[in-house]
Amino acid sequence: MQSFQDNILKLKHYWSERGCIIQEPYDVEVGAGTMCPETFLRVLGTQPYRVAYVQPSRRPADGRYGDNPNRLYKHSQLQVILKPSPSDVIEQYLGSLEAIGIDLRQHDIKFEEDNWEAPTLGAWGVGWQVMLDGLEISQFTYFQQCGGIDLDLVPAELTYGLERLTAFLQVRDSVYDIEWAKGFSYRDVRYRDELQYSVYNFEMADIPTLWKLFELHEGEATRLLGLYDPKSAEKKRFPLLPTYDHVLKCSNLFNTLDSRGAISVTERVGVIQRVRKLAVGVAQAWLDQQQAASAAQGAQ
């Protein structure tokens, strides 16, 4: 039987062979692989890029104390960015499924319309959810806009739900029963996280503290963005990446507050706007910084 980590290794190998940089997960908590700088910032501008990484993705509201067989507070996404998207991108994607042992002549694959939108990132794209024998295993998106900016090159983003995919291949009804590595189940490795984070997110997280943290990170990101000067000769030194980390912190705190029931529906829109404003600000500054960098390179 192919373990969870076998699948990850095979997929990484597959995309490595197709010219992708294999990155490690980003070390700031995110809700989805899209939010990592390797996607959010790299898709901007005219530089081609190909990258694949597994990103643990935290969705506080989806936590179920480790009780629900299909829902996780933190699941693992394999995120692949192909910028620009090659013309045989779907073939390449299907090839990756075959690489982990799915015979597509014996299984039913369908591409069902599913357009993606992330309001906190000012990002959207069109694409599909990919269904394998009735199970959604991937999200396939052609990015059109990111940080409110129309993209020069259209990247394809492939996101695999690794737990689901493995449960499917190992014929397990619960993700906790999948084999992570020989002799270790997913439960052995991850159950404690699920239980403890559910307790924290739903019961113990201190709402005033979370709000305070949110405001601190928001304040720092706002302060930094205010200092970015597009006319400065030294702007390539400007710490936009650290600025973006603070935006990510805000996003995760927002999600935690939300799962805690601390954000009313009316407030929600406002808080999303605040995070979006920062994300858009970073994206615009980043693009400006990169254009200057590539212009300088061209001049040399």
Partner: protein, 647 residues
Amino acid sequence: MTLPFLFEIGTEEIPDWMIPCALESLHLLFEKTGVPHETVKLDATPRRLVLRAEGLPERQPDTQERVTGPAKSAPAQAVAGFARKQGVRPEDLSVESTPKGEYYYFVKKVRGRETQEILAEALPGIILKIYFPKSMYWTGKGGPQFIRPIRWLVTLLGENVVPFELAGVRSGCLSSGHRRLGSPEIAVTIADYEQRLRDHFVILSAEERRTRIRAQFDGVRVKADPALLETLVYLTEYPTTITGEFDSQFLELPEEVLVTVMRHHQKYFSVEDASGKLAPRFVAVMNINADPQGYVRRGNERVLRARFNDARFFWETDQKKKLADRKPDLSHVTFQAKLGSYLEKTERMMTLAKELGGDAHAVRAAELSKCDLTTELVKEFTELQGVVGGLYARVQGEPDAVWQAVYDHYKPESMEDAIPRSHAGRIAALADKLDTLTGCFRVGLIPTGSRDPFALRRAAQGVVKIIAEGKLEVSLEKYLADTALREFLADRVRYYFKDICGFKYDEVNACMAAGWSSLVDLEARLARVQNLRASPDFEPLAASFKRIKNILEQAKFGVPSGSAGAIDTSLLEPGPEQDLYDEYRSIAGQPIENVISRLRPKVDLFFDKILVNAKDERVRQNRLTLLGTLLKEFSTIADFSEIVTSS
């Protein structure tokens, strides 16, 4: 000789629901090129839009063009120059006489353009103009836009390729088969195209895919679902059904929940047993030719099991808190920022339900109707709002009238949908929709053009349909105070009686002009006017009423508020005027149907013989009063001057 034409746009998977529309658009755009042809046939799968035409000419017919040259008196050099330009010798030119003198001319033969050339020029534009509700870039910002990336183009005119390039794709004669069962590149000719696709597991005709799916239902009692069938027809290139099973324990869950999971989330057909009850089976449609190992069936069964387990978990969790106990929680659920929470909406709905003549059941239904918004089941399956509330109300012991009313209160969801089944349900549904309408209009959330985020059109349509079909004695008067809402509702009333019920537009206008706060009364009057219209006296009388109205308007004469008593009988002139008055006296108060044939000749004669604008001002006023009284008497059913007469 004529040529056949094959045009295939090969793409990545197009959303199923957009395909029929796109084909229509493609057809129209092709017709616009003006290239003559005998037949056109359109087909599509998720990965291709195909137009095939027959009987195209090789080229347009030749035409002649007359080119006028220099005058006959011009120097020989100029004449030679003209001839050279036309590619002939000077002696081949002809001379014609014109009023301005004699001139050289030449009849030039213009060869008709090749169809291939016309198409090569037109096709890229056609592709990019095909209508899609949402399109994308794929080659980069500023590049071509289409619904999904274009990956190949087949353009054959007879045996030749119509050459062009779009988005880096060159047109040719290579199509593509099924993604996994066929070959990615297949050379085709017009003659073998459909067969070649079939060999590579693509069934080109939607009709054939539809028939194929239906044929495979054989032996299974599948619940008819035409919309789902259409979805699957355009989601597959080679549809094959499989029948799966689920644990019959799940049948304890409400059928509505099971069917929703199967239909909306998994795109499965439900199956019923011989008695029409839901059976623990489903039919899924694959996009491959067979499932010999049962992988696909088992995979789908597992997915469904997980989904049903979730639903069962939600169903059981939700039961821990009664629907009625959830009402206070609605204060945390926003209905609309300016209109407050669902708790506030609930309170308003309860008041409205009473005002609208609802009984205790209707009021109770209004109270419970929104409580399911806080349940896990509705959070997961939002399309089941209302239904879930009704189901919980039932198991929690609410009377039939109450739970059914909660269950139905979002109905009708479309013009085709039925109205709630009971009186309480109709009142609760009305209260919900009228509250939304009056609230949104009050705070300025008025739909504009295509933007209608609160689905107010549907709400208004629902109001009209419920009152009319439910024959509810409800007065809309109170809601018509707001001019914008009045206009908005009037539109829906007109639409309903004209387009749905089939009354003529002028009948609707005429009857609405006499008031429409009671739609039941309006419909009854419409039926009367429709019947009256069959009478030969109707149109002439309607024309006379229009004339009366015009006369009164020109005289700035308000319709008299008093009765016939305002008429001074001593001023009536014997003959037609007196006759008309007498006639009026004898028929006043009777339905117009009974008197129309008697009234009409008197009116005609009056207009024939009597001058309304008499010299004596008192006589004039008296005549206007007579006409005004007459108009008023018969305008309670309709304003007949709105009737469009053929004469």
